[in-house]
């Protein structure tokens, strides 16, 4: 066999090996981390929208407006937490005039989404503590 043919065979073999290697790369494996974040945010979006449409935030605002007892407010927070917990929300925090008044679940980790609740009396903010980055 002449050397040119020999070189060509080696070059083709090497190229084929690299091509197979490239083709074998599983895109799901590369995007797994991003896709899992996307899935998490999608579920969170869906659950928050469901809470919004079913009037859970309206109910909480109404209780705060009429000066309901702390038990009623806590129960309402519990309902919200139970609905939203599977989507990665570790805890809820309700602030009144900047001071933490109610906590539900864990607030040690994660990042926060703030939602002000306008009422005619005080300034309320509901914070969702989300697990992970």
């Amino acid at each position: 066999m002449n050397s040119a043919l020999y070189d060509s065979v080696i070059a083709l073999a090497l190229s084929s090996f690299l091509l197979i290697f490239v083709l074998l790369i599983n895109p799901v494996f590369i995007f797994e981390s991003s896709l899992s974040k996307l899935r998490k945010v999608s579920i969170l979006e869906k659950n928050i929208k469901s809470l919004y449409e079913n009037g859970y935030f309206g109910k909480l605002a109404k209780l705060l407006e009429i000066g309901a007892s702390s038990n009623e407010i806590r129960n309402c927070l519990k309902e919200i937490y139970e609905k939203i917990h599977p989507s990665g929300v570790a805890g809820l925090r309700l602030l009144i005039n900047g001071r933490i008044m109610y906590i539900y679940g864990s607030i040690k980790q994660g990042w926060i989404i703030r939602m002000p609740i306008p009422t005619s009396k005080d300034s309320y903010v509901l914070e969702f503590i989300i697990c992970g980055e």
Binding site: N2, A4, S15, L18, K37, E45, K49, E53, R114, P116
Partner: protein, 298 residues
């Protein structure tokens, strides 16, 4: 010996270049799709903030509308003034700042603000805001036409949407205004005292009957009434000058936490009663009587 057509290094180089190009192409695709997913995540995150924003704008607008209607109820009621006060007091920029954070930047532009009479229907937004689902007919609908932009802080992904938020205030403003107009039409009406018996009782019964005619179901009225007895120049007729004032028309249907429930008729309503003067009625001349009236249509 046959000399190779290509030098060895050239073959190796060609194959490596092809593979490197292929790899770089794959890497480009990976980066592209990864960025796409990251942008999708940001869009989804923006959607969460968008839902929160709609809720906060809805609640804020409802409370501002309530406050404006409440204060307007104690003076001359004017819907164009309500609209102008709303435009001044709706602080959408402040809300955008409060809802946004170091991840998402929000901007809200108000295109139009419309006030409209509600025909009475079920509105999903009412549940969202903590109100009964059904909007009463004759109540006021505030329609906000907004352009909302939410984007990540570096501005490489986000959403821009035009939304129409319909916020209903359950006080039946339009119904109360119609009642007020009916009461205005009574102004300067003259009635003849026809029946024999107690003149004061007749006047009060007539006023009650006429005011009740003006009222709608689920509305009630409270006012003060002064009856001043006088005679004409020839002392042949008894004149009773009736002044209705501090008239408050209340919507009994409005039982929510909102404070706007009634409107006032600012100028007094004057009614005249006449009757031929006889000896029994002479003693009434110069007398002034004051009553508190509370009327409710069943």
């Amino acid at each position: 010996m046959v000399k190779p057509f290509f030098p060895i290094s050239a073959l190796y180089l060609a194959s490596f270049i092809i593979v490197v190009l292929l790899l770089s192409n794959v890497i480009c695709h990976i980066v592209f799709y990864n960025n796409l997913i990251v942008k999708l995540i940001i869009v989804k995150l923006c959607n969460i903030y968008f839902t929160n924003l709609k809720y906060v704008i809805g609640r804020h607008s409802l409370l501002v509308l309530d406050d404006v209607l409440y204060h307007m109820g104690n003076r001359e009621f004017n819907l164009s003034l309500v609209k102008s006060l709303l435009k001044d007091r709706l602080s959408l920029r402040k809300i955008a700042k409060e809802v946004g954070d170091d991840r998402v930047k929000i901007s809200v532009i108000m295109r139009h603000l419309t006030l409209k009479e509600s025909l009475g229907s079920e509105q999903d937004m009412n549940i969202v805001l903590g109100l009964p689902q059904e909007s009463p007919s004759g109540s006021i609908d505030l329609i906000l036409d907004l352009i909302v932009t939410l984007s990540s802080l570096n501005g490489d992904a986000g959403i821009r949407r035009r939304i129409k938020l319909t916020i209903n205030h359950p006080m039946r403003v339009y119904t109360l205004l119609r009642v007020r107009n009916n009461i205005f039409l009574m102004n300067s009406t003259t009635y003849t005292i026809e029946e024999e018996g107690n003149v004061t009782e007749f006047i009060i019964n007539t006023i009650n009957r006429e005011l009740l005619k003006c009222l709608h179901r689920h509305t009630s009225l409270k006012c003060k009434c002064t009856i001043k007895f006088d005679s004409d120049n020839n002392f042949s007729m008894l004149l009773a000058l009736v002044k209705l004032y501090d008239i408050m028309i209340k919507d009994n249907f409005q039982t929510t936490f909102l404070k706007a429930k009634e409107i006032k008729v600012t100028s007094p309503i004057i009614l005249n009663f006449t009757c031929p003067l006889n000896e029994d009625l002479c003693k009434l001349i110069g007398e002034t009587l004051t009553f508190h009236l509370f009327l409710k249509k069943n």
